[in-house]
Symmetry: C2
Subunit: 605 residues, 2 copies
């Protein structure tokens, strides 16, 4: 009861099913809603490139510019490819559904596994980067970063358990704050660099690095930067949320998103290079750029706040995506069916709780460090990109709708490029953590398939197809007693209510106790016969099981064991009573034709 009230406090009062409704989004709001995940990666992508290059010394840092250009091209390709997906799936085409439809169940499950992992990592990475934005601005908080991360996950999870119905308006403000403030930074910082009113700084003479500038290092840096692409698929997943004409509006918004993403990412990378900024553990690169341009002014803090807010929004999107994908997987019987159940507040509570738990675990294990989490991140994202684009190619070739040939070229290029990038990431980041994901994805797929097989077999076993109900059941009712007191008397009365032939059974371990019990029974036995079973090994179960076997004469006969059980008034008192009931239930669980019933006796103190 008290637990129940606690739940109400955090989760709110239940909402009736009839309140489920759909909000349709205009283009500007939709951009804000679907852009946060993709744009927020600007907060760490440049830094991740530099963190790899610095291993080869400061001389390698200038490679950040061509790498950023390559990533910008990649963004353009992926965006063009997803524009075709929107055209084909106006009802929303997530990688799981698209792959399952076009490439078969297995491909769908691989995409599903990749996406589930991806969503967990989106929460972990975004929260870690969001907290890094805070601790860059307020350095005293740096040592509490893991706690701040955990607190952020809890806040977002609780908000989602309540159900965020006002998502559109809530999201618009911080997204535009981030775009606007970063835009001002780029323009003012760029002008300052050109007209020399902000000092440019060449990279300091850094000691020569541990590694040479080789192709592998460049590819690793590129792989790190590819995190900039995470989240661009969100628009194509959410087409039905747009105002009419949905597909057209979604395509426009996706193009805007691509343009803004490329601009912000390239701009930050150029300014970082221009100002000679090096990645530092306690301050993010963006914070350093902003501080270089604006000093510790109010506007600097606005930029940091905007960065933090958009990152929390990015984490928040996973709290809608993960439960939604879980729902699809549960509906198709690949994961436990509990994930298909809506909670009191019309949200999929189980998915939210699991996501928050896993993300918290990752944040704690990796010490709330964005850089440590990144190698796990992009593999799953690019795997789902590849499968999703490849599915589209398959679809165009099959259906041959209008424009199929040039559309299939766009998607084919997308699939090829994202596939290559995925392999590059897996190879260059394998030893840094990507191996976890590489092994986890097939493991999850095997689990999905086992669960599916189990549900299918259960359905078969339960089917009423050609089932004739067996003849009526009969039952013998036994009360298992260890003593005679008020609790036992209640149990005996219940047994008598169930059957006029109820018997009491006592397992003897000490003849002295039997004698005392039989004496009490003569006074208060209420007409129920007492059967005494001897137990030379002091075991309760052995003699009882033997007696039950002796009673079970035919298939349709069931033995009912009635157990008197104390229900203490306080939880800690549970340990003070013999858990005989639990023991007996456990032993009887796998025996057919035995049913155990507790009769609770409620203690007052």
């Amino acid at each position: 009861m008290r637990l129940h009230r606690l739940k109400r406090l955090f989760v709110g009062t239940p909402l009736p099913t009839a309140q489920q409704r759909h909000e349709r989004l205009g283009k500007t709001t939709a951009l804000a809603v679907f852009a946060s995940d993709a744009l927020s990666s600007v907060a760490y992508a440049t830094e991740e490139i530099l963190l790899v290059l610095i291993l080869a010394g400061s001389v390698a840092l200038s490679y950040s510019l061509p790498i950023a250009v390559a990533i910008a091209v990649l963004i353009a390709i992926v965006v063009s490819s997803y524009r075709q997906t929107i055209h084909a799936y106006p009802q929303g085409g997530g990688a799981y559904i698209v792959s399952k439809d076009n490439l078969g169940t297995c491909a769908g499950l691989v995409a599903g596994a990749a996406l589930l992992i991806d969503y967990v990592l989106t929460v972990a990475v975004s929260v870690a980067a969001g907290v890094a934005a805070v601790t860059s601005a307020v350095p005293v908080l740096f040592r509490y970063r893991v706690w701040l991360c955990v607190a952020a996950v809890v806040v977002v999870a609780v908000a989602n358990l309540r159900g965020i119905r006002e998502s559109g308006n809530l999201v618009a403000a911080p997204t535009y704050l981030f775009i606007g403030s970063l835009g001002v930074l780029l323009v003012y910082g760029g002008l300052g660099a050109i007209f020399d009113f902000i000092p440019e700084a060449p990279y300091p003479q850094h000691p020569p690095g541990l590694e040479g500038v080789g192709l592998f290092l460049i590819l690793r840096a590129f792989s790190s930067g590819c995190t900039a692409l995470t989240g661009v698929e969100a628009v194509s997943d959410g087409v039905p949320a747009f105002k009419r004409p949905e597909a057209q509006n979604a395509r426009v918004v996706l193009t805007w998103l691509g343009a803004i993403l490329i601009t912000l990412f390239l701009g930050i990378t150029v300014l970082t290079y221009d100002f000679g900024i090096l990645p530092r553990p306690e301050e993010t690169v963006i914070s350093q750029v902003a501080r270089h341009v604006f000093g510790r002014s109010a506007f600097y803090y606005v930029i940091q706040a905007g960065t933090m807010l958009i990152l929390l929004l990015a984490a928040n999107t996973s709290f809608a995506d993960f439960p939604r994908l879980s729902f699809f997987l549960a509906r198709d019987r690949f994961i436990p069916r509990q994930f298909a159940a809506q909670g009191d507040r019309l949200v999929f509570s189980n998915g939210i709780v699991i996501l928050a738990g896993l993300a918290t675990l990752l944040l704690v294990v990796f010490g709330g460090d964005t850089h440590a989490l990144i190698p796990l991140y992009a593999v799953g994202v690019f795997l789902s990109f590849t499968l999703s684009q490849a599915s589209m190619v398959r679809r165009w070739l099959r259906l041959r709708e209008e424009g199929w040939w040039w559309r299939s070229w766009f998607n084919g290029l997308g699939a090829l490029v994202t596939g290559l990038v995925m392999l590059t990431i897996a190879a260059t980041k394998f030893t840094h953590g990507a191996w976890i994901v590489v092994f986890l994805i097939p493991t999850l797929v095997v689990m999905f398939l086992s669960v599916h097989r189990h549900y299918e077999k259960v359905a078969e076993q339960l089917s009423l197809e050609g089932f004739a109900p067996p003849p009526p059941m009969t039952t013998t009712v036994l009360v298992l007693v260890g003593d005679l007191h008020r609790g036992v008397i209640k149990a005996i009365q219940y047994a008598q209510a169930l059957s006029p032939n109820a018997k009491a059974v006592f397992v003897e371990t000490d003849p002295e106790r039997t004698r005392k019990l039989e004496e009490k029974w003569r006074k208060m036995g209420m007409g129920v016969p007492l059967i005494v079973l001897t137990s030379p090994y002091r075991s309760l179960l052995g003699p009882l099981l033997e007696y039950i076997d002796h009673l079970q004469t035919d298939e349709n006969h069931v033995v009912t064991i009635v157990l008197p059980e104390f229900i203490p008034a306080r939880w800690w008192q549970l340990g003070l009573h013999n858990q005989t009931a639990l023991l007996i239930k456990g032993a009887m669980l796998f025996r057919k034709n035995v049913i155990v019933t507790d009769v609770p006796f409620h203690l007052k103190h």
Copy 2:
């Protein structure tokens, strides 16, 4: 079933109650049985003194000699005092029983709490020191010491769960091996030092210590050395195990024990000083002394093996003492009654498992380091010494038996001295870990009293004194259904066996499902009426509870809820089915007049 076979493998087949018998011990065997705990502390007591003195630099190390002499005097006093206890309690006088008899329940419980803690620490300290003896001889094992400690606890615990019936003979060999090999070391090492065929070495010029040589430091070193006394009470606890005349034999054995303990302890301390041996983290002082005298010869390894074995035996004694004390406390209803139950093999299994668990926890938390555990150890031991001696004084003064006046002087001196030592230990070791014990003892006492109060109140509530059985009970049987399949049909048949008026109840969350269910019901409903309850908030419980309230018309009417439940074939499949049964049972647990029964349906795959 598989679990059951695993248990048999480790624990052995059950023993019938009739096999319980008592082994009587001769003096030499008794010395071996009861000496291990006390003598084994020689393995670390000297080292612990040095580890404190070294804090003040090498100049302070010579204080080890007078400190050791003071401890030897203390041993003599305590032994003389316990000789009187044996006289008064020939049936065995543990501190709990003696204190409870003579000073009242509270004093008894304080002694009981102190002893329980003490037994756990005996296991932890002895195992840590035993493993240190091994890793001193085989240094490559040093890094695995925590694992070795855990393995040792498990081995000893499993041996005790099987019931070690052959204890006398098993114990005699290693104890005499230890006494003998250490004796040879002392004699040969002593002669070597006197006749100069073993090089003496003055203490190396150690850098001046961090602390000055003050009274506090000396007292701390003395406190550390007092661990040498742990276990001397064992003889007086075990008087009934001696051959006749029990008390006299026990007194003789206790005197031998005291003499051997003093000899070994003083001898080791003198040799350590003579050979200029300093405590080192990876090698014990005894190992260094033995190596100094014998080199890495076979005899050196014999000494290390003997040390390890006697320490494991010391740990083993706690596995008899802890469950025995738990039995007394449970019998007197101060701890959960489960501790009073004998297992299959005539041992108190619960006590053994709990002791092993707590000792393992301590070993892991303190990294298997003897020195880290020592500050927790001696407080409890000396507290129980003090209470036990004080009880004896009280007893002599009350009963005035023959020789009461001089016996009470012995016990009074014992109580005074051990009390002072206890306060010294608590004060000097407080910040090093003794505070844990100082706070834990009263906490345990409060717990004992709460448990006792609970059991008393339960007994009152259950009493049949003046209880008239209420009028016969009636019951309504409801089957809660979510669908209609073979599992539900079994539940319906069971409900029909219990009552001809059984009804089925369905909570509607989606009218479409209701329609489908009603259709199935028309075909296969077996004559049971289906009651549909609507649930606008998708809650299962709300509408069900309302309906139950509506059925409960009078005090003696009980509602029986029959739940169809899947029992999967494999454990991992448990998570794949809605745990509705658990939820409903939880919600009904605290409601009077509702009884929940699962009808299991066993899945085949």
